[in-house]
C-alpha cells in the first residue's frame, strides 16, 4: 500500500482529448484525484463527464494525452482500481442473481477457467451486507428496484477491494434509502484510506458528500477542494449562461456555504 507521500495523485490525467467521430467530447482535460478523498466530477449534460472516466479506463479510445494510475499505465494496476458503470449500461433481465453479479468483481483474482467457489461467494455476500442488501443475495437481478441494482454494482466494486474507485453516476435516480446507503459506503471507504471519484449530476449535494471537485465542460474549468472551488463564479464558467441552471447553482452554493459552516461548527 502506497502512502500519501509517495503517490499523492492516484489518478493523473494530462492533456486528455477524446473525440467521437469528429465531435470533440473532452478537450485538453487535466484532472487529478488526490489520495484519500471523495472526488466529484460535475458538469452539464454532454460535458464529457462519463467519457473522461471511460477514456481513463481505456473503454473509449483517446485521441491524445496521458492517463496514469498510481504513476503507471492502467493495464499494470487494474487490481487496484474498481469501476462502477452506469446502471443503464447492462441488461438487468440477465439470468443471474445479485450475489452472482457481485462475485464478478472477483473473477479477475480467480483467473482463467476456475469456477466461483465458496470463498468468493462469502466475499460477495459480505459486500452485499455492506450495501444493505444481505437479504437479496439470491434474488434474480430483474426483481430488484433500480436503487438496489445500483447497490449491487457498488457491492461488486467493494468486493474488488481496490484503492481507487471510479463511479459513473452512482446517485442517478436512486431512492432516498439507496442514496444514504451509498453515502455511508463512500465515507467508510474514505475512512479506510481509499479514494473515490464519482461522476455526479446533483449540484446541491456536492458540498455535503464530497471533499474535492472537478468542474467539467469539455475541459476542466476548475478543480480543487470543494470549499474553494465550488463557487458561483466557477459554476457560471462551467454551466454557461443558462439561467435556470445558474439559479440552481446559486442555491447550491448558498447551501454549500451553510453546510460547510455547519461542518466547521461541529
Amino acid at each position: 500500500m502506497h502512502t500519501a507521500e509517495t503517490t499523492p495523485l492516484l489518478l493523473a490525467v494530462r492533456d486528455l482529448n477524446v473525440a467521437y467521430q469528429s465531435k470533440v467530447v473532452v478537450w485538453d482535460a487535466d484532472f487529478d484525484a488526490p489520495f484519500g478523498q471523495l472526488v466529484a466530477i460535475v458538469g452539464p449534460n454532454g460535458a464529457g463527464k462519463s467519457t473522461l472516466i471511460k477514456a481513463a479506463l481505456g473503454l473509449v479510445p483517446i485521441a491524445s494525452g496521458s492517463v496514469r494510475f498510481f504513476g503507471l499505465p492502467y493495464a499494470e494496476v487494474r487490481h487496484r482500481v474498481a469501476y462502477v458503470p452506469q446502471r443503464e449500461s447492462v441488461d438487468w433481465d440477465f439470468p443471474v442473481s445479485a450475489v452472482d453479479v457481485v462475485a464478478m468483481g472477483l473473477y479477475r483474482r480467480l483467473g482463467w477457467c476456475l469456477p466461483v467457489r465458496r470463498r468468493e461467494l462469502d466475499l460477495a455476500r459480505a459486500a452485499l451486507v455492506k450495501v444493505g442488501l444481505a437479504d437479496y443475495a439470491s434474488r434474480q437481478i430483474s426483481q430488484l428496484s433500480g436503487g438496489q441494482q445500483q447497490r449491487v454494482f457498488l457491492a461488486r466494486a467493494l468486493a474488488q477491494d481496490a484503492d481507487l474507485y471510479l463511479m459513473d453516476e452512482p446517485f442517478a435516480s436512486v431512492d432516498a434509502a439507496t442514496e444514504r446507503a451509498i453515502v455511508e459506503v463512500l465515507r467508510e471507504l474514505r475512512a479506510s484510506g481509499r479514494t473515490v471519484v464519482c461522476v455526479h449530476h446533483d449540484l446541491p449535494t456536492v458540498p455535503e458528500y464530497f471533499d474535492h471537485v472537478a468542474l467539467l465542460n469539455m475541459r476542466v474549468v476548475a478543480q480543487g477542494p470543494v470549499s474553494s472551488t465550488f463557487t458561483a463564479e466557477n459554476l457560471r464558467k462551467t454551466y454557461g449562461a443558462r439561467l435556470t441552471l445558474l439559479e440552481e447553482a446559486a442555491q447550491a452554493v448558498e447551501r454549500a456555504r451553510v453546510s460547510l459552516q455547519h461542518r466547521e461548527e461541529r
Binding site: 473503454l59 469501476y83 443471474v96 473473477y107 469456477p115 435516480s173 431512492d175
Partner: protein, 519 residues
C-alpha cells in the same frame, strides 16, 4: 454456485461421454456394415421399395407396428447413427445458443449459416480440381467453416469501422455471401464433371444421409464445444452481462467475443448436414429462448436449452424415420418450436399463463382494496365523532347505494365487489340486502388498506422523482419497501395536512394472512 457448477459440469460430461461411448460401442459392433453413403435411408428400409414409388404418390404412408418398434428400439444401425448425431447437435445448439441469445446476437447465427454456402461450393470445386472426391464431408465443412468465420468477421468489421448499423451489416453480409454461394452452385451444375445435386442438401439439410463418420464428427465437435463452454463459463457470463466491466478488469473482451462466435460457427457447420443452413439458426435460438421462460439461473437455463435441443433432435429424427416423406431438419425445428410454444404459455418464470394469473391476482386485489377503501371512506365521512375509536367508526352499516354513487360503480360491479368481499369473510352482505357492514377481519383489513393507500399516495407526491419503478404500489405494503423513517415522515405529512383525513392508525394486531392478499 460451486456445487451447481460442478453438477453442471458432471452432467455435461456424463451426458456426452455416455452418449459417445454408447455410440462408439454400437458402431464398433457393426464394423463392416455397408454404409449407404449419400442416399442412405434412415430406417434401413430397402432403397428399392422407395425407388419404386411414383413421384406423384403423395398419400401418407402410416408406419407399420414393426417399423415403429424398430425405430423406438433403435434396432437399425442408420437410425442409431442419426439419433446420436442429431441429439448431440441439438444439445450443442442449446448450449452455445444460450450464450448467443444473452449476447443479443441471435441474427448473427443466421448470417453465419448463410455465409457457409460459398465455402461449401469452393471446397467442392477445389476438391474436384485436385482430383479428390468433391463430396468429402470434412473438406466441405472446412470450406464452410472458413467462409462462415469470414462472414462473422465481416459483420464485426463493418460494425466497428463504419456507421452502418448492426442489422444492416448482418443483411449485407448475409446476402453477399449467400449470393456468391448460389452463383458458385450454378457454375458447379454447368461443369462437365460436376453435379451440384449433392450440395443442395446443405441448404435444406438431410439428416438421413448421415454416416457413422459424420455422426462421430458431430459428437466429438459437440463434446469439444461443451468442454470449452464449461471452461469459459464464467468468462462468457461476464462478457454477455457487462462487456465494459470485463474490459476494465483486463479480460480480452474481443478475443472472448470471437471465441463465442467461433463456437457459433462450429455449431452452424456441424448442423449444416442435418438441418441445413436455412434452419440451423433455429437450433441455436429456439431452445435457448424456450429455456429462458423456465429459469432465472444461467446454469439451469443452459441445461434446459440443451435438453430441449436434444429432445427436438430426437423427435425430428424419429418422425422422419417413421414417415420417410417428412424432412428431418424441418421436423426438428418444428419440434423445437412446439417446446418454445409450450414454454411461452406455461413457462414457470415468464410464461403467459403465469403472467396472466399474476394479472388476475392483481385485478382481484385491486378490486378488494377499492371496496374496503370505499367502505372506510364512507364510514369516515359519516362518523359523528372523528376521534372516536377507529374500530367503532367502522361498525356502521353502509348503504350499498351510497357506495355505488360515491365511486361511480354500476349495479353489476357493486354486486361483484360485495360478493367478493363477503366470500372472503371481510364483510357481511347477502344478495339483495341494501346495507352491508364489515366483519372484524374486514375492519382491520380496511384500515390497513386505506392507510397503505394514503401513505403511497403521499410518497408518490413527495418523492415522485425517485420512486423506484419496480414497486407495485397496490401490492406492496409500504413498510416493506420504504424505509421506516420515510414512512414516519409520510405519516406526519398526512396528519398535518389541511383538509386531509388523518391516516388510520396502524392496526395493532397483524392482519390474519389472507388468501391471495400478497403474492
Amino acid at each position: 454456485m460451486t456445487r451447481r457448477r460442478v453438477l453442471f459440469l458432471v452432467a455435461l460430461l456424463v451426458l456426452l461421454l455416455g452418449g459417445l461411448s454408447w455410440f462408439l460401442s454400437r458402431a464398433g459392433s457393426h464394423v463392416g456394415h455397408s454404409h449407404q453413403s449419400g442416399e442412405a435411408h434412415a430406417t434401413g428400409a430397402p432403397a428399392a421399395r422407395r425407388g419404386g414409388k411414383s413421384i406423384t404418390d403423395t398419400g401418407i404412408e402410416w408406419p407399420s407396428r414393426e417399423k415403429i418398434w424398430r425405430t423406438v428400439s433403435l434396432a437399425d444401425y442408420n437410425t442409431r447413427i442419426v439419433f446420436a448425431g442429431v441429439t448431440a447437435l441439438g444439445a450443442a445448439g442449446g448450449l452455445v445458443g444460450t450464450f448467443l441469445l444473452l449476447r443479443k446476437r441471435s441474427l448473427l447465427s443466421d448470417t453465419v449459416s448463410h455465409c457457409t454456402l460459398p465455402g461449401i461450393a469452393m471446397a467442392f470445386l477445389i476438391g474436384e480440381s485436385m482430383g479428390l472426391s468433391g463430396r468429402s464431408l470434412p473438406l466441405l465443412l472446412t470450406g464452410a467453416s472458413i467462409t462462415g468465420a469470414l462472414g462473422m468477421l465481416a459483420v464485426a468489421a463493418i460494425r466497428a469501422k463504419s456507421r452502418i448499423k448492426d442489422d444492416a451489416a448482418l443483411a449485407i453480409v448475409l446476402s453477399v455471401f449467400f449470393g456468391l454461394g448460389i452463383a458458385l452452385l450454378v457454375v458447379i451444375q454447368h461443369l462437365p464433371t460436376g453435379n451440384a445435386a449433392g450440395l443442395n442438401q446443405f441448404i435444406y439439410g438431410k439428416a438421413a444421409s448421415m454416416t457413422a463418420d459424420d455422426a462421430q464428427l458431430i459428437l466429438l465437435a459437440s463434446l469439444t464445444l461443451a468442454m470449452i463452454c464449461a471452461a469459459l463459463f464464467k468468462e462468457f457470463k461476464l462478457l454477455c452481462f457487462d462487456t465494459d466491466f470485463a474490459r476494465t478488469q483486463g479480460w480480452p473482451a474481443v478475443a472472448l467475443d470471437l471465441a463465442l462466435m467461433g463456437l457459433v460457427v462450429a455449431v452452424t457447420v456441424i448442423g449444416l448436414q442435418a438441418v441445413g443452413l436455412l434452419l440451423v439458426v433455429a437450433l441455436l435460438i429456439i431452445p435457448a429462448a424456450a429455456a429462458r421462460f423456465w429459469s432465472h439461473r444461467l446454469g439451469v437455463t443452459i441445461l434446459l436449452a440443451m435438453t430441449i435441443g436434444a429432445t427436438a433432435g430426437l423427435v425430428g429424427v424419429a418422425a422422419s424415420a417413421l414417415f420417410p416423406k417428412l424432412p428431418a431438419g424441418a421436423v426438428i425445428v418444428l419440434a423445437a418450436v412446439v417446446c418454445f410454444a409450450v414454454s411461452f404459455v406455461f413457462g414457470a418464470r415468464r410464461g403467459l399463463l403465469v403472467r396472466w394469473l399474476e394479472q388476475r391476482g392483481v385485478a382481484t386485489r385491486v378490486a378488494r382494496q377499492h371496496l374496503l377503501r370505499a367502505i372506510y371512506e364512507w364510514c369516515e365521512s359519516h362518523a359523528h365523532n372523528r376521534h372516536a375509536d377507529p374500530l367503532h367508526l367502522l361498525e356502521q352499516p353502509v348503504p350499498v347505494a351510497d357506495l355505488s354513487a360515491a365511486n361511480d360503480w354500476s349495479e353489476g360491479r357493486a354486486t361483484r365487489l360485495l360478493r367478493l368481499g363477503s366470500s372472503e369473510g371481510l364483510l357481511a352482505w347477502t344478495p339483495g340486502s341494501k346495507t352491508s357492514h364489515l366483519t372484524a377481519r374486514g375492519k382491520l383489513e380496511a384500515r390497513r388498506v386505506t392507510r397503505n393507500h394514503r401513505l403511497w399516495e403521499t410518497y408518490l407526491l413527495h418523492y415522485a422523482d425517485v420512486a423506484p419503478p419496480h414497486i407495485h404500489h397496490n401490492a406492496d405494503q409500504i413498510e416493506h419497501v420504504i424505509e421506516p423513517d420515510i414512512v414516519n415522515e409520510l405519516e406526519e405529512l398526512l396528519a398535518g395536512g389541511e383538509g386531509r383525513v388523518l391516516v388510520p392508525a396502524d392496526p395493532e394486531k397483524p392482519v390474519p394472512a389472507m388468501r391471495g392478499a400478497r403474492t
